[in-house]
Symmetry: C2
Subunit: 165 residues, 2 copies
DNA sequence: CTTGGAATGTCAACAAGGCTGACGTATCTT
DNA sequence: AAGATACGTCAGCCTTGTTGACATTCCAAG
């Protein structure tokens, strides 16, 4: 038997909960990017540079194609960013060994230093949030985020986590 | 007494955990925006339009200034978006009553219809994620997101939640 | 050994959506 | 009457995304 009143009420509640979650994602993402953004601005770099640096640091020796899949942008867009990073001596591009068409990307010392700077700023905030919310909340946080990804991105996310190149 | 080995190990673990959280935020945010983005693309609108529509729907009769604070963009940027929405008959702008300098913004019927379409697409994914992760995880998710916001955004977030205009 | 296709780089052109700076108008407040 | 506030707008700039076209290099299959 259906209890119509309760159903409506719970539908309303969960709807409101979902809306709050949507807004929380929006506001939290702003905070999430705020600290690296400030550093990047002083170097006339943008988020696109940060993303490239992050994933190259995470999978040193990765290829352009691999990076394209991870970042989900066009090669032209990635290339523009990559070129400036290489010109500025933050990223190194070496011809692949087994397949010499590939470029194997890695960070130079200067690139690694910037990556640590950006990452530390971002992790500082994450660490504070994790600490404030507690370990169980953090588990839930990770669970929900993962469930929110597209299936393909979830695979990519796990592949990176497992340390694949 | 400090157990140096364990400290190092746990520092490493938590660092890895934080990096996973950072990447999870990145990939999840893509999923979070993917469904509305597809709808918006068919209408030659962008995320900026979605954000405006969302918060006008959430606080009908809100002012331009209020929206500026919420969205954190310049008035020129917001105005460009708002103008097209008004021209297209999705948003209505009425002179304020108590203060006639203000414009009170609200959605037209057509605007409301689009808002529901976008919101439903986004909520569908959130609902699935919440369901997959379970209610305790969802509580944790909200806790961590809130802790990640800038203090000012947290206030704004709560103000909207409480239904302030 | 040749040839098709894959991986990469690059040129050009364009759009969305941020930004700054400057200015104008209407309206409220003091 | 004067200053502050809310809003709109013009102009110009930047980043970062897009499409389309084309060249190069190289692997692998026939």
């Amino acid at each position: 038997m259906r209890q119509v009143v309760n159903e409506d009420s719970s539908a309303f509640d969960s709807d409101e909960r979902l809306r709050q979650g949507i807004e929380a994602m929006f506001f939290a993402y702003r905070g999430f990017t705020a600290d690296p953004d400030r550093i990047l601005a002083t170097l006339s770099y943008g988020r696109a540079h940060h993303r490239a640096i992050h994933f190259i640091a995470r999978s040193p020796g990765t290829t352009v194609n691999n990076l394209l899949k991870i970042l989900g942008v066009t090669k032209q867009s990635l290339n523009r960013v990559l070129r400036t990073l290489i010109e500025d001596g933050l990223v190194e591009s070496r011809q692949g060994v087994s397949d010499r068409r590939e470029r194997r990307l890695s960070l130079t010392d200067a690139g690694g230093a910037l990556e640590r700077r950006l990452s530390e700023a971002q992790r500082r905030r994450m660490r504070a949030a994790y600490h404030a919310a507690g370990p169980e909340a953090v588990d839930g946080f990770h669970l929900v985020l993962e469930a929110m990804m597209d299936a393909e991105m979830r695979r990519t996310y796990h592949a990176i986590k497992e340390g694949e190149t």
